[in-house]
């Protein structure tokens, strides 16, 4: 990770008065870089929420030091500090007595922005989060769960804070809506580049949302703090391995893009070429078929059977591939293409039908094992 540190926790501990000496978070240190999304993930009660709440002083650390943008949070007025940090919780906590527009305007109003500026900002945010203008005058209890969640995010973004704290923000909605909200939020984060601390207990959500994942164990102990890819590739210990669960390989495939691994050239022949060329290409790769490519354009495939009795490849009538993948496809999609195609490989094409090469099962599994 490069870049400057936005949030830093140094030897932070929290012992709750009622907890009789056992620490909710014990000696936790972590640096979060400007613009990255760090996901805290771990079993229930491991101290994720406590860790997050110490950053905006909803919970005061018992010991240790926390800085946001270089300033010690304990030396700032907590109310001022919180107004500069976006905050989203699972149950959202929209104010039932205020309309959606008023809810979004909460922090701007606390900061005494003038009314025209507030109005403008609310319009902007409802646009960004695709909230229908008709919703703005309604009250929260008139909205669906997904809509409320987006209002919660809009509200947290209202004064464009550089840091966002999100505690299981999509935990309360059904899986389909959750996936949409996650995608929408990823798009948003691509543009906004906030520094985000995101709490979840769902490893798949963590893998999807995170630049880096911190896997916590009881007492806020960090078992591993690394990119999702690295955590899946080389889990630090049994706890991480178990938490990440089965299908570690498949989960990694979902993270890797076709463009990230070497693509093989594969057997290729031009339609004008004599049959002999096609046979040579097949022999070279030890396949019984080959792609037909004309000026870089993928026409389809032919095999020994269809070439029988023909003089040129063109005569053999290339058959189209049933599916192909692009540079942006995940390896998981490529794998799907491999196991469902008769040719047992994924054909990679770009920009419509431009032939790039092929991906074989061997190539993908080599990537996963390395």
């Amino acid at each position: 990770m490069t870049g400057d540190v936005m949030i830093s926790l140094k030897n932070v501990s929290k012992v709750f008065d009622s907890a009789e000496g056992s620490a909710a978070v014990h000696d936790l240190s972590m640096d979060i870089v400007r613009g990255e999304t760090v996901v805290l993930v771990g079993p229930s009660g491991c101290g994720k929420t406590t860790t997050m709440k110490m950053i905006n002083r909803l919970v005061e650390p018992t010991s240790g030091e926390i800085t946001v943008n270089g300033t010690d949070v304990m030396k700032q007025d907590p109310v001022e500090l919180r107004r500069g940090i976006g905050y989203v919780i699972q149950s959202i906590g929209l104010m039932p007595h205020r309309t959606i527009a008023q809810n979004i305007a909460t922090v701007p109003e606390l900061l005494k922005w003038d009314a025209t500026k507030v109005k403008q900002r609310v319009a902007e945010l409802s646009d960004i989060l695709e909230l229908d203008e008709a919703l703005l005058g309604r009250y929260p209890n008139e909205l669906s769960g997904g809509q409320r969640q987006r209002v919660g995010v809009a509200r947290a973004l209202a004064v464009d804070p550089p840091v966002m704290l999100m505690d299981e923000p999509f935990g309360a909605v059904d899986p389909i809506v959750r996936e949409r909200l996650q995608d929408q939020f990823l798009d948003l984060q691509d543009r906004l580049k906030k520094t985000i601390v995101f709490v979840t207990h769902d490893i798949d959500e963590a893998i999807k949302m995170a630049d880096r994942i911190a896997i916590l164990n009881r007492g806020g102990v960090i078992e591993q703090f690394a990119s999702p890819e690295e955590i899946l590739r080389s889990p630090a210990n049994d706890f991480v391995k178990q938490f990440v669960g089965v299908e570690r390989g498949l989960k990694r495939l979902a993270l890797l893009k076709v463009s990230q691994i070497g693509i093989e050239e594969g057997p290729v022949v031009s339609p004008e070429a004599p049959i002999r060329d096609a046979e040579r290409a097949m022999e070279k790769f030890d396949y019984d078929w080959c792609s037909v490519v004309e000026d870089g354009e993928l026409l389809g495939w032919v095999d020994r059977e269809s070439l029988g009795g023909c003089l040129t490849v063109a005569e053999a009538q290339a058959r189209p591939f049933s599916a192909y993948v692009t540079h942006d496809s995940t390896l998981r999609e490529a794998l799907d293409s491999i196991v469902t195609s008769r040719t047992q490989v994924a054909v990679v094409a770009s920009g419509g039908q431009r032939y790039v090469g092929i991906l074989s099962l061997e190539r993908i599994s080599k990537e996963i094992i390395s």
Binding site: L58, G93, M95, L110
Partner: protein
């Protein structure tokens, strides 16, 4: 109807006409005594209830004391106050205010306790100071429960005002008392029917007021959060 009227003392309509000025004046006095009592009651209850809500230890002694005030028979209370404050408005108001306190305090505390914890947490996380939290989040959200207390206190006070006729005030109670003393049914009926009408009207007005100031609590009533449990443990149930 005609048969029934024959054997009974009839209402002297002419008396009502002749005394309409006096009746109107007493009607106004009744409203004044009521409004003053509830207003003072609120002025005392709001800070006490807020304190009791923030410092839980204070709630039990507070409701014990106001509970005693609430259960003292009104006659006894006025008799007790007479040597100190005499036949004055103060005597009447001290008694009337005393009766509103328990109702108001209980409902204000219950209303505050019923504020959803997630709303409070989100507000704190967004940077509300504790004063802003109270006046912009907690009190507005407690309003339906507080208004229910105000209605109950007001209707109770309308009834109690008639008793203050015994110490020379009483609003419409004056007619009930003098009617009983002189066995004059018309005055009794005027006093009691008008105070009943007053109670029902004021209650209706307060319901209307509550709807106006809490438009959010009506929208899609079916989707409202279930009432929090704390409400039943302290304070009267709310309609």
């Amino acid at each position: 109807m005609n048969l029934a009227q024959a054997d009974r003392p009839t209402i002297k309509w002419s008396w009502i006409g002749d005394n309409s000025d006096k009746i109107f004046a007493r009607f106004i006095e009744h409203i004044e005594l009521t409004v003053l009592a509830v207003a003072i009651g609120l002025l005392i209850s709001v800070p006490l209830a807020i304190y009791a809500y923030r410092h839980r230890w204070f709630y039990t002694p507070l409701t014990s004391v106001t509970g005693i005030l609430y259960t003292i028979p009104s006659l006894a209370l006025f008799a007790f106050l007479l040597p100190y404050t005499g036949l004055t408005v103060q005597t009447a108001e001290i008694g009337l205010v005393g009766y509103t306190l328990l109702i108001l305090i209980r409902n204000i505390v219950a209303g505050l306790a019923g504020v959803p914890p997630d709303v409070r947490e989100a507000a704190r996380g967004m940077g509300f100071s504790s004063g802003q939290m109270l006046w912009r989040v907690e009190m507005p959200l407690a309003l339906p429960v507080i208004m229910a207390g105000v209605r109950l206190a007001t209707v109770t006070t309308v009834g109690l005002v008639t008793v203050t006729a015994l110490i020379g005030k009483g609003g419409l109670g004056f007619f009930i008392l003098s009617g009983m003393r002189t066995d004059f049914i018309t005055a009794i009926l005027v006093g009691s029917i008008l105070s009943l009408v007053l109670a029902v009207t004021v209650d209706g007005l307060l319901v209307y007021l509550e709807r106006r100031i809490t438009p959010w609590s009506r929208s899609r009533a079916g989707q409202r959060r279930p009432a929090p449990k704390t409400q039943s443990s302290i304070g009267p149930r709310v309609a």
